[in-house]
Symmetry: C2
Subunit: 555 residues, 2 copies
C-alpha cells in the first residue's frame, strides 16, 4: 500500500456541538486509541436523568483494535464515563499521576479498580503502539497534571490539546510545554484539534496566581470565619486557599464528599503542601475562634445537595452560618446554573454572611485559553489541517474562523459533528461517512434504558400531569361492571375541581354506553375514544393537556 | 389624632426577593394606592405553570379603600397581572400614553377593555385623592414613557423610582427629570423606594444611543439581510434599528406577535417615526434584494415558540435563513435563558448566518441604573428613610449598604419581604406584622387552582414517571376478579424491562393474597401495602422512585 493513500481516521463520539462528554477515537491501520472518556450533565429537558455518556457502539464493534484510553486530565467531562465504558470495553487507561489518582477513587466506588489496568505516564513520555505512538505534552488548566496528546503516525503528527490555557505563573511552577509544541510545529504537524471553550473571549485568561492575590487581600482583612466554595478538582485553587489561610493563622476544614476525596488523593500524591496541623476536621471548627477558621466546601454551582447549599439552608449537620461569616464563591456559573447559585447567595446573605462572588471580586479565573492564547497555539503548531473541538457549534465556527484568519486555507479547516468519520491523509482532509453516536442516559442503575419515549412522557407529565381512567367491563356483554373511576395526579386540585371531574366522568360514561350499544369490544378503539372525548373536553375547560391513561379491566 | 402618630403603610405584595411580579400598596388613612401590577415568569421548578401573579387577598379585603393602580411603565413585570387583578378589583388604572396603549392591547385580548377605566397621565401631573396626591416624574428606562411616582401625604413625601436609569442622550430627547427629584429632595423626602436590579454593577449604564452607533457601524458594512431580535417593548431600540435601516436603504419587516402589536401601538401613538414606505410586510421581503432588507423579530431570549427560534429551526412560515444573513441579538440573557439562547445561536450559525450578540459587540444596554446612577438618585432625593425594591435579597442587601455608605443611619434603612407591613411616620420606620402574600399560579385557564401539591406531583412525575397498578376485587370475598395490571409511563421502556414488570406484578399478587388471607377489606391499607412493596423492590432494582398509583375497583 502506498503511503500517500494511507489515512488516519478521527471519530469524535462526544464533545462536538456540546460542552462535555468528550471522547475522540483515532484510528490508524489496526490501532484505535481513545482520547478522554467524559460525561455530560443533563439538559433541563432530560427529566430525571443523572448523567449522559457517549454511545460507544463503534468502539465495541472494533474492540480488538482499541489499544487504550488516554486521558488528558481528571475533570468529569473527560473521565466521568470511564466506569460505564470500561464495563463494556476493558482496555488500559493511561494518565498522569493525579489524573489516575482521581480515576482510582472513581473506579473504587464502582467496584472496578481491580479489573482495570491503569498505566501512569509523565509529560514527555511516549507510548509506542503497533502503528503509532502517543506522546504526552504538559499543559496548564484548572486542574493539575493536565496534558495534551500528540499522536505520531508514519503519515504525520496529530495533536489534540485537551483543555488548556497558557499560565506563565502557574502554582506548581510548570508552564505549558510551549517549546515542545513549537518543536513539533517546526518539524511539521499534520493536524491540530484544539479546545474552543473560550474562543469568544478576546485577550488572555488570567493566571491562576492572580486569584491567590485576591485571597491574600481578602484573608488579610477578614474578621470572622471564611468559607470558600470552589471546584473540588482545582487543586491549585485549594493550595492557594490553604496557603493564604496558614499565613493568616487560620486552620482549614474541608466539607463535601468530592472535596474530601480529592484532598485525600492530592495529599497522598503530594499535590498539596502545607503544615500537617493546618488541616482540621469539620467537627473541630468550633474549637477555634472564628478568625482562625477557613472552611473549603463544594457547591460553587449552587447544586442543591452540595455542602454550601445545605449550609445556606441551615440543613448541614456540622456547619451553620454565623453572622460575620464571609463566604467566597470562587467559581463562575456554568450556563444553566445561574439561578441555583443566586438562590444560595440570597440565603447566605439572609443568614447574615457577607458573600463575595465573581462579579464583585477576582475570585476566579477560567481554565481555558482565550483568543490570544489560541492564536499562540496555532502559531506554534502551524498545523496543515485544523479541527476545532470542545464547544458548541458557535464556538467551533468561531475557532475555525480564527484559524482561517491566521492563514489556514478554508479547505484545510473542518467543522464536524459527533459520529463523523474524518479521514486525514498527507494531503487530504475530508468527512467520509459516520458511525453510531449520541447520548446514553444514566438514570439510577439504568444505563441506556431511558430513551426518547420515556423522556417525552416525563416531559408531558411534568407539564399537566396525568388523568387515569379505569373501568371494569364484562367481556361477553361489553357491559360496565365497575367504574369508570377517574384519578388525577399533577393536573388539578381535585377538591376545587369536583365539577370538572364529574363532567369528565359523564363523558367517559357516554363513550362507554355508545360502545356498548354498538357492541364494540375492541378495547384499543374504546380507549382511543375515551382519550379523544376527554382531551377535547379538558382542553376546552382548562386549556391544559394532561396525559390521559385509559385502563380497561376485562372480566 | 395627632400628626406625629399618623402613619403611611407600605405593603409590597411582589417584587421583593424576586425579579418580577412588582406590586406595592401604599395606604394612608382611607386611601390605598397600588403601584404596578406585574407578573413573573415561572421558575424551572414550577412545572407547567404559564405565569405567576401576586396574591392580592389584602387588596380585595380592603376593596373600598383602593383608589387606583398607578403604572410606572409597560413591561410585563409591571403590568402583566392587570387582566387577572382587574377581574377581582375593578379600579381605575393610571399610566402614561404609551403605557396605557400597551395595556389596552392586553385588556382587549382578555375582553376587559370596555369595563376598565384607563386614565392617561403625563409626567408632572398630580392626581389628588382624599388623603394624598400622586405625582408622576419622568424617568429613563428600556421602554419609552416610564415614570417614577411621588406620593404626597400630610406627613411627608414617599418616592418610588420604578425601574429607571439615567440617560443623558435618550432617543426621545427627554432626560429623566433630575431637577424634580432634586427639588423634592431639597424640600425633604420622607422615604425612597428604589430599583435595585443593577446594584451589583459599578459605574454607569451606557446610554441607549450607544447601541444606535453599533447598529450604524454594522449596517454600513453588512452585505446581506439583517435580522435583529430584541425586546418588543424597547421602542427606542426599534426606532434606532429603523433609522439605521432607512439610512442604508433597507426596508424593515416585523415578525412575532408581540412585536407586531407594539409596533402598531407605537405607530398609532406617535412613538415611532419613519417614512411610511420603510415598513414592509413580511410577505414582501423576498421582493427586495437581501442588502435592502431588515427583519425585526421577537425571540431575543431564545423562547422556543418565538419568531427567531422558529426561524433558526426552519420552522417559520415566511422567513428562513439564507447564507449571508446577519443576525443581531440585541439583548442580554435573562438569568435562566442562557441555554435557550445558545441553542438558537448555534442553529443560526449552522444555517449559514453570521450572528452578533452581546459578548461580541455593544448591541445592548441595560435599562437599569448601575451604582453611580443609584448614588445620584440617593444624593438628589436625600430621603430620611430608604427601602430597596425590585431585586433578590442579594440586591436589596447591597442597595441597603450603598445607602448606608452614603450617610443614612442603619436604622433608617429597611429590608423587607413581600407581605410585610412597613409603617412610616414622620420619625419612625418599622415593620408591623404582615398580610397574606405569595405566588398565584396561572396555568391555562386556571388561576390559582394549581398549588403546591399539584406542583410536587408534577415534579415527582417528571423525575421517574408513574406506575399505575389496577386490580378488580370482589367486595364480599376480597378475592381478585381481574388484574393486577401494571401500566407505567415515563418510568422504564417496558419492552426492555419485562422481567422487572413481571416481578413487580408478582409482588402485588403476593400482597393481594396476604390481604385476602387475612381478610383485609380496608382498601386504604391494601393500597399502602402495594405501594410499600413496590417502592422497595423498584428502588432496589433501579434506584428510581416512580410515583406508584394503586387503584382498586370494587364489584
Amino acid at each position: 500500500m502506498k503511503r500517500e493513500k494511507e489515512k488516519i481516521k478521527i471519530i469524535p463520539l462526544g464533545g462536538i456541538n456540546e460542552i462535555g462528554k468528550n471522547l475522540t477515537a483515532f484510528e490508524y491501520k489496526e490501532d484505535i486509541i481513545v482520547i478522554d472518556c467524559g460525561l455530560k450533565f443533563p439538559d433541563e429537558d432530560m427529566f430525571g436523568i443523572d448523567i449522559v455518556i457517549p454511545d460507544i457502539s463503534y468502539l465495541i464493534k472494533n474492540k480488538d483494535k482499541v489499544k487504550g484510553i488516554f486521558l488528558t486530565h481528571a475533570h468529569e467531562d473527560h473521565i466521568g464515563a470511564l466506569p460505564y465504558v470500561l464495563k463494556q470495553l476493558n482496555v488500559p487507561v493511561y494518565g498522569t499521576k493525579l489524573t489516575l489518582g482521581i480515576v482510582e477513587t472513581k473506579l473504587k466506588e464502582h467496584g472496578l479498580l481491580s479489573s482495570v489496568e491503569l498505566i501512569r505516564i509523565n509529560p514527555k513520555d511516549i507510548i509506542k503502539l503497533d502503528s503509532m505512538s502517543v506522546e504526552f505534552i504538559k499543559t496548564n488548566h484548572s486542574i493539575a497534571d493536565s496534558v495534551a496528546i500528540a499522536i505520531h503516525t508514519p503519515i504525520g503528527v496529530v495533536i489534540h490539546t485537551g483543555d488548556f490555557k497558557v499560565d506563565y505563573t502557574p502554582i506548581d511552577g510548570e508552564i505549558i510545554d510551549l517549546a515542545r509544541f513549537a518543536e513539533l510545529g517546526k518539524k511539521g504537524v499534520l493536524m491540530l484539534l484544539a479546545d474552543s471553550t473560550n474562543v469568544e473571549r478576546p485577550g488572555y485568561t488570567m493566571s491562576e496566581s492572580t486569584v491567590g492575590k485576591t485571597f491574600e487581600n481578602i484573608f488579610s482583612t477578614a474578621k470572622g470565619r471564611i468559607l470558600v466554595a470552589t471546584f473540588a478538582s482545582n487543586i491549585h485553587r485549594l493550595q492557594q486557599i490553604i496557603t493564604a489561610a496558614a499565613k493568616h493563622n487560620r486552620k482549614v476544614a474541608v466539607s463535601g464528599r468530592s472535596m474530601e476525596n480529592i484532598v485525600t488523593v492530592a495529599l497522598e500524591l503530594g499535590y498539596l503542601e502545607f503544615e500537617k496541623e493546618t488541616l482540621i476536621s469539620v467537627d473541630a471548627i468550633n474549637k477555634y475562634p472564628p478568625e482562625n477558621v477557613v472552611i473549603i466546601t463544594t457547591g460553587s454551582q449552587g447544586e442543591p445537595m452540595s455542602a454550601l447549599s445545605r449550609i445556606s439552608n441551615n440543613d448541614h449537620k456540622k456547619i451553620s452560618i454565623i453572622p460575620g461569616d464571609l463566604v467566597i464563591i470562587s467559581a463562575s456559573p456554568i450556563p444553566g446554573n445561574e439561578k441555583l447559585i443566586s438562590k444560595v447567595i440570597n440565603q447566605l446573605f439572609k443568614k447574615g454572611a457577607e458573600v463575595i462572588y465573581e462579579s464583585l471580586a477576582d475570585v476566579h479565573v477560567s481554565g481555558h485559553a482565550c483568543q490570544e492564547e489560541l492564536k499562540l497555539m496555532h502559531a506554534l503548531v502551524k498545523p496543515k489541517y485544523f479541527m476545532p473541538v470542545h464547544g458548541e457549534y458557535r464556538h467551533l465556527k468561531q475557532h475555525a474562523e480564527l484559524a482561517i484568519k491566521m492563514g489556514l486555507p478554508q479547505n484545510n479547516v473542518i467543522i464536524v459533528d459527533n459520529g463523523d468519520i474524518i479521514e486525514v491523509s498527507k494531503d487530504t482532509l475530508r468527512k467520509n461517512g459516520s458511525v453510531t453516536s449520541g447520548n446514553v442516559f444514566v438514570d439510577g442503575l439504568g444505563v441506556g434504558d431511558v430513551g426518547n419515549i420515556v423522556l417525552r412522557d416525563r416531559k408531558h407529565l411534568s407539564q399537566d400531569g396525568i388523568l387515569t381512567v379505569v373501568v371494569t367491563i364484562e367481556k361477553e356483554s361489553s357491559s360496565v361492571i365497575a367504574g369508570p373511576d377517574l384519578i388525577s395526579r399533577g393536573f388539578v386540585y381535585v377538591r376545587e375541581s369536583e365539577d370538572l371531574m364529574e363532567q369528565a366522568k359523564e363523558i367517559v360514561k357516554q363513550v362507554l354506553k355508545e360502545c356498548e350499544d354498538k357492541g364494540i369490544t375492541d378495547w384499543a378503539t374504546l380507549k382511543s375514544k375515551i382519550k379523544d372525548g376527554l382531551r377535547v373536553y379538558l382542553y376546552e375547560k382548562t386549556k391544559r393537556k394532561p396525559m390521559i391513561l385509559p385502563i380497561i379491566m376485562e372480566i
